[in-house]
Amino acid sequence: MSFEPKILSFLCNWCAYAGADLAGISRFQYPPNTRVIRVMCSGRVDPAFVPRAFLAGFDGVMILGCHPGDCHYISGNIQAERKIALLRKVLSDEGVGSERLLLDWVSAGEGQRFAELIRGFTEQIRSLGPFPKTEEIEGKLRAIRTSLEGEKIRWMVGKAPELMEKENVYGERTDPERVREVLETTLREELCKNRIMGFLEAATMTAKEISDKLNLSLKETLPHLVSLVGEGRIGFDTSEESHYPRYVRS
Amino acid sequence: MKTNSRIEKILGQGGFVVTSECGPPRGADSEVVRKKGELLRGVVDAVNVTDNQTAVVRMSSLAACAILKGMGLEPILQMVCRDRNRIALQSDILGAAALGINNVLCLSGDHQKFGDHPQGKNVYDIDSIQLIQTVCRMRDEGRFLGGEEIKGKPLMFVGAAENPFADPFEIRAARLGKKMKAGCEFIQTQCIYNMERFSRWMEMVCERGFHEKCAVLAGVTPFKTAGMANYMKKNVPGMDVPDEMIERMKGVPKEKQAEEGIKICVEQIQQLREIPGVRGIHIMAIEWEAKVEEIVKAAGLFPRPEIE
């Protein structure tokens, strides 16, 4: 039996959704694999929805909004682009489905384009095959989801444009490079920490085992352990003495 | 001669005394006493009969003495102050004299804590020195402690025990002096292994002239095994066993250790005889009476002198 991908698409009410309707009115044909969620603006799409969708069994996710400049809410689509770019970077760094995520623009008048995008993406996913569900990948997705849902990231993602383009709390403009750096670093840290918490759910582990699982060097791994210890989220398993202490969830 | 004591007589002749001991049985079987008596007959001059030694209940010393006496042996009645008050002690002395027992050895007695009735109450109405005094007074003055006159004095030759190695160091010789002063006529010592220390003690004793009034019989105990030697060193208070002696015991195979023990004992007796002031030997072969004869003979102390 041939593989039928399950695709989730978020369509902005004013452009993409209208475009989809137009495709219908125009009887443009496209594959039936897509499930549509209507949102008022592509800016509403929380990046955390994406790993959530993958975890729920979707093989691909599309987000379609208005063309730049056309946003009904002025810049919702631009914000969506930033957020999704960040998400895509994380997904690609982790090697989990960045190629299964599509953000694009469809205006209310582009019924044809809508159908083509759907067709193209469906084919792309079909050729990629089903979303590989290994324990490791699911762990990564869960960690990505948890990280993105955390207050720090949400706040930063939301505030970033203001900081870079308008002014920060000190009435200055923050260097965009710096904002990006902080955002990426923080996300990366959160992600690693959440993954470690995930590993330790099942068993106690040494720093070496954790670093192997994270596919990071020990030197890169240790700071995450230090900060988790500092936050009191993990501790040391003192039940046995060894040269390599085992970490345990508190 | 104050008494009919065989020991007194031998000493009076200037002879060298050999005594040994017989522990009464933990039962009423007189045969046990008789058997032990048989082993010692003719081998030693007198036989000590212990008085509930180590505070373990045994046949009374007086009864066992009477049995030995009946066999023609010369018993020495050991009396401890632990179990009887002055009334009982004096009464037993009269009884012993009546049975023809000529010797008494006055002792404090081991504390009941070590025995089979640690729950018991001890008496210690009088102490061993006072007991010596009491017996002498009964014999010489013919009076009880309370002052009343005795009809028929008990003629006892009075002795005591002495541990030359016991503490306090300061009174090692004085302790003997005090016993002598109380009227003690002979001393049997704790078993001696450290010859050097014993001869030093003897020197102190002789220096003060104690040996003239009070005959010192040096105590010896043959080792049965190396383990016994070790036990004595470690667990018996006041016992001084030199290491080389233990080494010597350990140095021979187990089955030969008894033999070695006897050999050591004999050597010791020979050395002790050379020490000035030593007037006799007291062989305490603990539950090993069968070997006394062998020891006495090997030590050249056989036959025992005759007395008229």
Binding site: - | H111, K113, D125, D127, P168
Partner: protein, 222 residues
């Protein structure tokens, strides 16, 4: 002071039998000082009883009270007001106190909670040691101030037995040999010659052997 030991809790419980209304009575004299029957120990014993009976689900009443002395009837009278409310008085005084309380409350059951052990001194906080047996005829002048009657396991008056070793008594090596102490003190004070004297047999009539004792001082009597 009089030194005692608390009885085992189990023994106390057995002695109490089915009685559940208990007056725990302390004494603020010797037994307080030697930590066996003062207010604190009364509290401890009362607490133990309450804990035990609560555990067993029983109903009970335990009262704590400490008298200035249990060897004077005026003090003992102080509990007259409420002693009747209890089945039993559990006295934490020495044997004298227990008896005297018992004499004062003839119809009341008075039980000892303490074993009276000896007349002694405080060696250090929490450690007491026997010094006197109340023989009634003190000979401490003869024995350099160390009593061989109380402190020698065999009460020997004329020197140590052969078991004295390294300054310790043959009964255990925690106990000092009284005669070692005497000899040491004689030596220190240059009186070694006193050791040579033979102490005569003791007249025990002044002691317990002469029967229960009583002392009267006429001039103090009312």
């Amino acid at each position: 002071m009089i030194v005692g030991n608390r009885k085992d809790f189990k023994e106390i419980l057995e002695k109490l039998g089915p009685r559940r209304r208990v007056l725990v009575l302390g004494c603020n004299e010797c037994v307080t000082v030697c930590g066996v029957g003062g207010e604190r120990e009364v509290g401890v014993l009362a607490s133990e009883l309450r804990l035990f009976w609560k555990k067993e689900g029983e109903t009970f009443e335990v009262r704590e009270h400490t008298l200035e002395r249990q060897c004077d009837c005026e003090y003992i009278d102080q509990i007259r007001g409420f002693a009747d409310e209890y089945d039993v008085i559990l006295s934490m005084a020495c044997g004298a106190g227990v008896q005297y309380v018992s004499e004062a409350y003839k119809t009341k059951l008075v039980l000892p909670a303490v074993n009276t052990t000896f007349l002694g001194v405080t060696i250090e906080q929490g450690v007491w040691s026997e010094r006197c047996q109340g023989c009634g005829a003190c000979i401490l002048d003869m024995t350099a101030g160390v009593c061989p009657i109380a402190r020698c396991a065999k009460s020997l008056l004329n020197g140590p037995c052969g078991g004295s070793s390294g300054g310790k008594c043959e009964i255990d090596n925690e106990t000092d040999c009284a005669w070692q102490l005497i000899v040491d003190r004689l030596k220190e004070s240059g009186q070694m010659e006193r050791y040579e004297e033979i102490l005569p047999v003791k007249d025990w009539r002044s002691g317990r052997e002469g029967g229960p004792r009583k002392r009267v001082r006429e001039d103090l009597k009312l």
